[in-house]
Structure formats: structure tokens, C-alpha cells
Amino acid sequence: MARMKFLCDADRCIECNACVTACKNEHEVPWGINRRRVVTLNDGKPGERSISMACMHCTDAPCAAVCPVNCFYTTADAVVLHSKDLCIGCGYCFYACPFGAPQYPKVGNFGSRGKMDKCTYCAGGPEADGSKEEYEKYGANRLAEGKLPLCAEMCSTKSLLAGDGEIIAQIYKERVMKRGYGSGAWGWKTAYRETIES
């Protein structure tokens, strides 16, 4: 089985936000929630870089570790998913997450935050693959159809890579070798405790 990861080649990202839009549309993500976003660092200054970020599907995921009701699970492809039926909306995953991935439909309402929502790596949830219930709660399950996450597939500059960690790391290494530079795999050290030496 593959070990699925995301890799954003920041030297290619042009902040077009196609990944953000593709994700919102594919999964019919509700208002106020963005499973993926593009953050621009040093905006307008020399050395500016944009990075597309969503749930990184961490190794030994902090969200899963702190969840009081143990609603997270890791698939055979190492994708970190959760059950909205079990989630109580306590907010702990959102304190623990290094990437700001978990979000709540009702942030600010003291009685309930609602069920947590985050990137599913286009792999749905615990319901039957491709079922109506799964689509309504988690969005499309592209992985079950043999497709990769739509954000990476839609990326206009192929900056965002999704797939098996070793394969996308190899693609990135080849790019760095060919063009002679690379600012590294953003978030990898935090998420996977490893990085791509280049």
C-alpha cells in the first residue's frame, strides 16, 4: 500500500487558488469552510512564496491522538480520516493540528461548534465508498475510484503534488536537480518527521 502525502513545490505555486476552488466545488464544502487554502509569505517583498496547505495526513497524527472520543482513523493508504457521527465538536483536534486543518461549521457558537470538517484526501469517510451518505458528510471519494485528490490534479503549474510519498519526493528531487534550486517540502518535517534533502 502507498503512503499518501501532499507536497507543495513553493517555487512553482503562483497563488492561482485553483486547488482551493476545485476542492470546494468537488466536495460541496459549506460556506465558511476551506479545506485547502493558499498562504502567501512575504507578500509583495523579495523572496515571496505561496504555499497551498490542507490537512497533511500526518504520521502519528496529533488530531487523532488528542481526540477525546477517538473518532479518527488512518486508512491503509495512511490517509487520516474521521467519523462525523462520533465527533462531538470539542475543538481539541484544532488545538493540536500544526496546519490549521480542522474547521467547524459553527465557530463562535458556545453551545456547539458542529461536526468538525477537514480535508479527506478525496477519500470520503467511514460510510460505504461512493455512497450518498458519504458524499453528504465528507464529499467525493475519488481515491476509491482510483483517482488522486482533485486539488493536485487541477494544479495549473503542477506545483501541488499528491500521491505516494516516495514517488512525489522523487519527482520533486528531479525538478530540483534540473532547475538547480528548491525551497524544500513545506510542512514535511512537522507532518512526517522527515524532509526531502535537495
Binding site: 517555487d11 476551506n34 498562504v39 509569505l41 488528542v66 493540528c97 453551545g111 528548491g182 512537522t190
Partner: protein, 335 residues
């Protein structure tokens, strides 16, 4: 002339070609500039601030925080440190109380009951006490469930049942925080008069408070132990309430780091608070004869007051006399 013009044209062309060849290496050199030399670097940004923040074009500005690895430290606190602190505080307190009860037993009324009573807590004081106490017990159980439920209760009742129970426990925890906070404020205001530490407390503590040994050091309305409970409730209650509201209203006052800090304060104070209240419940029920009546019926036996709050009894006697002239209970009159 024509041939000369041709020669000039050829010479100019040759010069231009030569210039082009000489100038050509310059653009080749420019291509070797490394664009990442001046770019932002992840490890450098993390070392500077321990978080990376930028600009986003979506309306949710909070999502501009790209990375904040300190969630890992908070995770370590929540999953390991807090469970140790809570476990030691609560199980330790229970163990101490069980050992104490088995060796010392209930603190008896040494002079027996007089049958005459006097009012210790009026109906308003008892209402505030029990409102706060009821909220506290539900808040404590639902709070401990968040920290200890997953390892202890979830394996017993299964995922669905545990989630259902935890969801209701969370609602109770959020909504009951309001009457609890009001109770803490009222306790602060209504009993502060009797709870300022003074010299009598030093003497009381030196003589072991009548808990250790069989001494009965003098005390006003509240002895040093009760004053300690009062200040634990007021300060501890204030801290859990303030930190709790920070968590209940995310992003109103702080960002994620502030909420991690608030959760640490909230949970550490809460488990110590629970341990202290277990001791309070013990001494108010099976730990001391005649103590529960003070908060139950609101009236205590005069002999109980003489043994445990002699200076308070003197004050009350000087003001109204015992029993407020009420008839004595029939059972006591037979003695």
C-alpha cells in the same frame, strides 16, 4: 564606391556579430542565479517565531497561519502530563481520605448533642452552595470524561455510546458553566467577610485543626480549613471560568496558542479543584459528625458549634442567644 559601401556594411556586420558573441555569455550567467537564495525558508521562519503566518485571499484571515508545530507540545501535555497530574491528585486524595477514615474514623461530637440548635447558613446561602455544588459535580464528571473517558470508559461502552454520552456531557459542561460562574461570584461576595485570614487561623493550624488529634482549637464562623476551601473555590473557580470561556468562544480573545494555554490552565486547575472538593465533600459528610446539617437543614447543634467554632458561638450567643427561643426537639428533650 559601391564596393567600399559593401565593405563598410560587411565590417559593421562583422563587428555586430563579434559584439553579440562577446555579449552572449552574460544571459547564460543570469540563468544560474538561484531564486531561492533570497526566498523565505521554512526552518528559518519556524526558528524565529515557532509559527509561520502569511496572507490569504479567502475571507477567513485566521487561515493565514500556515504552520504551528507547538500543537505537538500541547498534545504531549494533554495525553501524558495532564493524565499524570489528574491521576495523582484525584487518586492520591481518595487514598489519603480512605487511610484517614480507617485510622481516625469520623470526628465525633465529644460532648454529645445538646438538642439546642442555631442557624449556621440561611436559605439563601444554602441555595447558592447547592446550586454551585450541583453544577460543579456535573462539570467535574463531564470534564474528567474528556481527559480520562477515552482510555477508561470508551473500551467499556463502545464508540457510539461513548460519543453520545460525551456529546451530552459537553453540552452540560458548556451550559452549566453559567450558573456555576454566578455561584462562584455569589460565594465570593456573601462569605468574604468571614474568610479573611487572621491570627486565630495560625493558632488553629498549629493545633492541627482538631482533625489531626482530638484538640478543639477556637475558630470564628470559618476556620482556617474552611477559609482554604473558600479561597480554592473563589480563585480556582475564577480561573476555570475565565479559561473555560476563552475555549468556549474561540478567537474572540486569542488565537490557537492562547487557546492551548487556556486549556492547560483550565485542566490543571480543574483536576486540582476536583481533588480539593473530594476532601471538602468527605469532611462535610462522613468525616465529621454534625457537619452536614450546617448545609442540610442550615442549623447546627450548639455543642457542635462549641467544639468547632467556639468564637462564632460566643458571637451568636451575645447577639441572640441559642436556638432563637424555639422549642427543643422532642427526641433531644428526653435526655
Amino acid at each position: 564606391m559601391v564596393s567600399f559601401a559593401r565593405f563598410v556594411r560587411a565590417a559593421v556586420g562583422a563587428c555586430a556579430l563579434l559584439l553579440l558573441v562577446v555579449a552572449a555569455p552574460a544571459p547564460v550567467g543570469a540563468q544560474q542565479v538561484n531564486p531561492t537564495a533570497s526566498s523565505v525558508k521554512e526552518q528559518q521562519l519556524l526558528q524565529e517565531l515557532n509559527r509561520i503566518q502569511g496572507r490569504v485571499s479567502i475571507p477567513d484571515e485566521r487561515s493565514g497561519v500556515l504552520e504551528q508545530p507547538q500543537g505537538r507540545q500541547w498534545r504531549e501535555f494533554h495525553n501524558v502530563t495532564l493524565r499524570w497530574i489528574g491521576g495523582i491528585a484525584i487518586i492520591g486524595m481518595l487514598a489519603v481520605l480512605v487511610i484517614f477514615y480507617l485510622t481516625r474514623g469520623m470526628v465525633r461530637l465529644e460532648s454529645g448533642r445538646s438538642g439546642r440548635t442555631l442557624v449556621r447558613f440561611n436559605i439563601y446561602e444554602r441555595f447558592v452552595h447547592w446550586m454551585t455544588a450541583t453544577c460543579f459535580i456535573i462539570l467535574a464528571i463531564s470534564g474528567l470524561n474528556i481527559t480520562f473517558g477515552r482510555p477508561l470508559l470508551l473500551p467499556l461502552i463502545g464508540f457510539e455510546n461513548f460519543s453520545e454520552w460525551s456529546l451530552w456531557a459537553k453540552y452540560a459542561h458548556n451550559y452549566l458553566s453559567f450558573p456555576f460562574t454566578i455561584g462562584v461570584v455569589l460565594i465570593l461576595l456573601m462569605w468574604i467577610g468571614g474568610n479573611i485570614p487572621n491570627k486565630v487561623d495560625v493558632e488553629w493550624l498549629k493545633r492541627g485543626g482538631g482533625i489531626v488529634g482530638h484538640d478543639h482549637p477556637p475558630a470564628y464562623r470559618f476556620n482556617a480549613g474552611q477559609k482554604a476551601v473558600y479561597w480554592i473555590v473563589v480563585i480556582g473557580g475564577g480561573l476555570v471560568a475565565a479559561s473555560g470561556y476563552v475555549l468556549m468562544f474561540p478567537f474572540y480573545t486569542t488565537g490557537i496558542e492562547g487557546m492551548q494555554m487556556a486549556q492547560i490552565v483550565h485542566s490543571v486547575v480543574a483536576v486540582l479543584f476536583v481533588a480539593a472538593m473530594i476532601a471538602h465533600i468527605y469532611i462535610g459528610t462522613i468525616g465529621m459528625e454534625g457537619a452536614f446539617e450546617a448545609m442540610g437543614t442550615g442549623e447546627v447543634d450548639v455543642n457542635w458549634a462549641r467544639e468547632h467554632h467556639s468564637l462564632w458561638l460566643d458571637e451568636q450567643m451575645a447577639r441572640t442567644g441559642p436556638n432563637d427561643g424555639r422549642p427543643q426537639p422532642a427526641t433531644a428533650a428526653a435526655e
